[in-house]
Amino acid sequence: MNRLEVELLGKKLKNPIIPASGTFGFGYEFAEYYDINILGSIALKGTTLHPRYGNPLPRVAECKSGMINAIGLQNPGADQVISTELVKLKKAYRDKAIINIGGHSFNDYIDTAKKFNGISNIWAVELNISCPNVEGGGMAFGTNPLIIKELTSAVKRVITNPLIVKLSPNVTSIQDMAIAAEEGGADAISLINTLVGMRIDLKTGKPIISVKSGGYSGVGVFPIAIRMIYAVSSCVKIPVIGMGGISNAREVLEAMYAGAHAVMIGTQNLIDPYACQSIINELPDVMDQLSIRNIRDIIRRSI
């Protein structure tokens, strides 16, 4: 009996730990550091229909309790992801992964998502409507419930894999966005993406990030994430994948108490490449301390 096992969208995961999109590349490079087959699943780098270079440098700025990034969805485009990146992933990772897709228009999202139908090492699509770092689409879509519902439903119609909608915290009512995704036919919700933030260089007097603002993430956003995971888990029936500043096993449990069926680890992977492995190893001891036998028993405990 594996006490870390959870079920998500009909799939059994060895444990609830999933590296978050954008912090783990296409997975295989982390296989140089540890056996990535220990992971619950992997959310791959945000992929768009066409290749994207992303934003000019600097793309990252440090903060006291986190970082700002404005990568701008750098990726080689869906076709090359399928022909190269996923082939490399397959050699390093026996299980299936989650493809994360971004876009500027409904058609971008639809055409990109469709390409991953029938791809043997993809089991779910995560719809990124919350990236603050692309013009048009991205967060502009994810902050409007009418668009969320329509886009979710348009993508859901053309794909064969389960659909996870990734929500932005940069909204007045996260519940309204979650309900819109659920009504549009989302199979699950993941949250939170980054919060829009800015740092200014006191020497130059200008914003550090080339495109001025970017997405703030890291340990500083954890309480915001917990509150939003809790709020969304309280108002939708579909499962929630929690993320936002999680950096250790205790915080994994906290996110699951708040309603998360699984969690994603983001910024911590960039600080400690072994973060996911350490958290997985740490979980049983922390569960013992709290007299938790099976991790799936604590999902939604606080609601």
Partner: protein, 243 residues
């Protein structure tokens, strides 16, 4: 890449704001041009530094105080243990030159030191550029491995001007160069001659290829300074217009 815990054995200023730090522990696997990424207590992101020297048991860094992180580094006492990712990046291609030229500007001299040491048998020409005499350092150390030429912007030490005007005004004979320094220096160097390689500096998120925070444009697509670099062929790099 390796994640190791290293002990500070030396940490002292060479000039007003340029420091030498020696770390001891499991340090094997470094070649000239690689870098390490250091975790500092109370700072979120690691700090990347090109290695100035390394053997199996120690690493030498030369770092400039530019912000809160490097300022904090100056306070680390001997015996302090720090979390370091080592053996990052690709390193210089040592076999390319029979008459090597090393060009370092400012903090860019750091990764050239181990390179100079390894090219000692070819007795390279080494041009080191500084703003002013107060910044000049490591001349004696570099002189053990090659013919050192020093420039300062204000002429207070050595040649008055920058490393490129010096290179143009003298007849240094070389067949391949290795350069590290400010982007504008590297860009102007490649407009004179593309037969060499450049070690680039960048703000990084992770330092090991995961975040795409340091990608640059090259003739064969975008490349990560931390993973495919930090050393690139001079003919490959596409410099931004604003550089």
């Amino acid at each position: 890449m390796k994640n190791v815990f290293l002990t500070v054995k030396e940490n002292r200023p060479l000039t007003n704001d340029f420091y030498k730090m020696v770390l001891e522990g499991e340090c094997s696997g470094h070649t000239a041009g690689m870098f390490v990424n250091i975790k500092l207590q109370d700072f979120t992101l690691r700090r990347p530094f090109g290695i100035a020297d390394a053997d199996n048991h120690s690493i030498t860094l030369l770092y400039k105080v530019v912000g809160l992180g490097t300022k904090y580094m100056t306070t680390l006492q001997n015996g302090v243990i720090i979390d370091v990712l080592t053996c990052l990046g690709n390193g210089f291609n040592l076999g390319k030159a029979s008459k090597p030229l090393l060009i370092g500007g400012g903090t860019g001299i750091a990764p050239l030191f181990k390179l100079a040491k390894e090219l000692k048998s070819k007795y390279p020409n080494i041009i080191l550029g500084f703003r002013t005499h107060e910044d000049v350092c490591m001349i004696h150390e570099f002189s053990e491995f090659g013919n050192v030429h020093v420039t300062t912007d204000d002429g207070s030490y050595g040649y008055k001007g920058n490393v490129l005007s010096y290179l143009k005004s003298t007849g240094i004979v070389y067949d391949y160069y290795y350069a590290c320094g400010p982007l504008v220096m590297l860009k102007n160097l490649t407009s004179i001659d593309k037969n060499g390689e450049l070690s680039l500096e960048s703000r990084m998120g992770c330092g090991f290829g995961a975040c795409m925070g340091c990608s640059i444009k090259t003739k064969s697509g975008y490349k990560r300074v931390c993973k495919e670099g930090p050393v690139f062929n001079a003919s490959e790099v596409i410099f931004d217009e604003q550089t």
